[in-house]
């Protein structure tokens, strides 16, 4: 059975592209870790900080989605 190398390479490439999501995992963990630490030190500032945390979360998550978009482009475009 002949293997279509091009299709194979495409699928491997799409899989490799999703490795970038790991970075966003580190980032989101870092973000919320720092947030929990900060709230432990100063619980009164929780609500004020949470706004920035949400913004940081959205910005970090977007990086993961860039990797996902690249994977989707490789697969479907």
């Amino acid at each position: 059975m002949a293997i279509d190398t091009l299709l194979l390479a495409r699928d491997v490439g799409a899989g490799l592209a999703t490795i970038g999501v790991a970075g966003a995992g580190v980032g989101i963990g870092n973000l919320f870790g720092a947030f929990v630490g900060a709230v432990g030190r100063n619980p009164a500032a929780r609500d004020k900080m949470f706004r920035d945390v949400l913004l940081g979360f959205a910005l970090t998550e977007a990086v993961a989605l860039y990797a996902l978009v690249i994977a989707l482009i490789i697969l479907f475009a």
């Binding site: 949400l54 913004l55 979360f57 959205a58 910005l59 998550e61 977007a62 989605l65 860039y66 996902l68 978009v69 989707l72 479907f76």
Partner: protein, 251 residues
């Protein structure tokens, strides 16, 4: 959508024409329908909510006032006093994207923010506006924006191209962020729903029990997607504010 070939995760973003024969003639798509609906919802919400003008706001009026004040504070905190004249623009963007994101979460509704053509148009408009505002306030001096103050001279040949590239990539990151978030959420729903169908068709009765797991994941995803729908509208609006701040105050 589980066919023999697998899951057709992107089929849900297909454009179809709405409004019957008339819609077909002018190519009025389901995406346009949703945009129109979002605009009508935002407008009618404010018309209905603010009709009474009560001193003690009721539920609807409270909603309108909270959303107004939320964006108003965001604009003033980020841009400063000059931000007042950009408030209507930012609020329109925020409300339109928020309602669009939320509409897209309902079954049989179309998420128009999942198309990069739409987010790209919005982002390009923001980009063009913030650049024009920069030149309007500072004239040709706005070009100094690309050379940050306090940088040694020998670093400038390296730094200026970087600043220019990062400035030009703003509309790309702004549009791709929104589009990718909404698309990824809907794709994940579709994929997990596809798992359920595959489990049931593959394993029979055992599969029906096992399908509870992807169903639970989908329910959890629904909560996350509502958060993301709000968050992305918020991020889009606050980044618009940041860009306008950069244009007015130069860093």
């Amino acid at each position: 959508m589980a066919q023999e070939s697998g899951i057709n995760a992107l089929g849900q973003f297909q454009l179809t024409t709405g409004f019957g024969a008339f819609g077909k003639a002018i190519e009025f798509t389901n995406s346009n329908e949703m945009m129109l609906l979002a605009a009508v919802i935002v407008t009618s919400l404010f018309v209905v909510a603010l009709r009474q003008r009560a001193l003690v706001p009721g539920r609807m009026q409270g909603l309108a006032e909270i959303s107004y004040e939320f964006v108003h504070n965001m604009v003033l905190d980020t841009i400063g006093e000059e931000g007042k004249r950009f408030f209507p623009f930012v609020f329109t963007l925020f409300a339109f994207i928020l309602i669009g994101n939320i509409l897209g979460l309902f079954p049989y509704f179309f998420a128009f923010t999942s198309h990069i053509a739409i987010t790209g148009a919005l982002a390009l408009f923001v980009f063009a506006l913030s650049t024009l505002v920069g030149f309007w306030y500072h004239g040709i001096g706005f070009l100094k924006f690309f050379s940050p103050p306090g940088v040694p001279g020998w670093l400038l040949p390296l730094l200026i191209p970087i600043e220019i590239v990062s400035f030009l990539s703003r509309p790309i990151s702004l549009s791709v962020r929104l589009f990718a978030n909404i698309t990824a959420g809907h794709v994940m729903w579709e994929v997990f729903a596809g798992f359920m169908l595959m489990l049931v068709s593959g394993l029979g009765a055992v599969g029906v029990v096992a399908a509870i797991i992807p169903l639970g994941l989908n329910i959890a995803l629904t909560a996350l997607e509502f958060l993301v729908a709000f968050l992305q509208a918020y991020v889009f609006a606050i980044l618009t504010c940041l860009y306008l701040h950069d244009a007015i105050h130069m860093h």
